[in-house]
Symmetry: C2
Subunit: 197 residues, 2 copies
């Protein structure tokens, strides 16, 4: 019989195991038995904590998202005009350090699952909010559209950059490039809101 744990501890343990395993293999390749065996518990108990395998996966991805959002956070000690750079630098650093898990959780994930989609949406929204706050611009639908797009650009840069074995550019330079790209993208919005012809 497995050691008896408190609800919270057991949940944390199971999610931790998920973070480990699912960083290197997709959900459909992970059987509930494997998780249970690794935790030293029975299959049934896993379903006591997570009604569904999808629910379990969602909980794991949610934990990963929390880690990302925590990592990509500029501390309050950062000067206002360096907030954006600090956030982007932290984000890029996170992707570089945890490339495989990042891809597994935020690219590979069963994107069709509405739960997972919701998590992705939350992360995007949170990052967009931070960037918007750092620029000081009002959060109109159009500015949000542009900033979300800019984050996609940043993600692409970070992922590609983290995949190079001999990076073409230094991480700091990449961050500078990404940060400097945002004002131009926002300036171009004038044409969108006031459509000429």
């Amino acid at each position: 019989m497995a050691e008896r744990l408190r609800q919270d501890d057991r949940r944390r343990q199971l999610i931790g195991i998920g973070l480990e395993i699912l960083a290197t293999k997709p959900i459909h390749a992970l059987s509930v038995d494997e998780v249970a065996a690794r935790a030293g518990i029975s299959r049934g108990l896993l379903f006591h904590y997570f009604a569904t395998k999808q629910d379990y996966y969602a909980a794991v991805v949610r934990a990963a998202a929390r880690r990302l959002l925590t990592a990509a956070q500029a501390g309050p000690e950062v000067a206002p005009d360096r907030q954006l750079r600090s956030t982007v630098a932290a984000y890029v650093g996170f992707v570089v350090r945890h490339r495989e898990p990042y891809l597994a959780f935020f690219r590979g994930g069963a994107g069709a699952d509405p739960q997972i989609q919701a998590i992705y949406e939350e992360v995007r929204d949170a990052l967009t909010d931070r960037a918007l706050a750092a620029t000081g611009l009002p959060a109109s639908p159009v500015t949000r559209l542009a900033v979300r797009g800019w984050w996609s650009l940043v993600e692409s840069l970070a992922v590609d950059h983290s995949g190079e074995r001999a990076p073409a550019v230094a991480s700091e330079a990449l961050v500078s490039y990404a940060v400097d790209a945002l004002p131009g993208l926002l300036a171009g919005l004038d044409r969108l809101t006031a459509p000429a012809i």
Copy 2:
């Protein structure tokens, strides 16, 4: 007994069925039986054509990718300086017209599967090549990095825009914005290639 078809025809039929079904539900929710039933054949025959369910899915995604690349193609009659705009307009139009399938195949897909990843990579590369050719810039690793990132931006814009029930901006304006964003992003590259400090 099912009508006897030629190899090519049967494959085409099965892939067509996949394009229909998988546009609205994820693979793991699609059973081989359902495909077989819809095609009026036995389960076994499906595995004769596609050794694995994953192989089948990959074939379907490949077909979807081919459709996307065909749609997002500027005809030879387009003037050189309009090629980029034409390509982007076609791409955005495709996403707007086929939003659900687009998300299902190019976002939802089992991203962990190396076959699927390879297809995504091919699409990205092909689109990047077209954009680079249209700008006339040399295809260095750094310009590719930037153009790939720009395509991510464009995809984000297109997906977000196609999801709005009352679009904040007209599609043409969005295309203009996207196209006009590229030169600025490429100009900023100077700082990357010649790092100061």
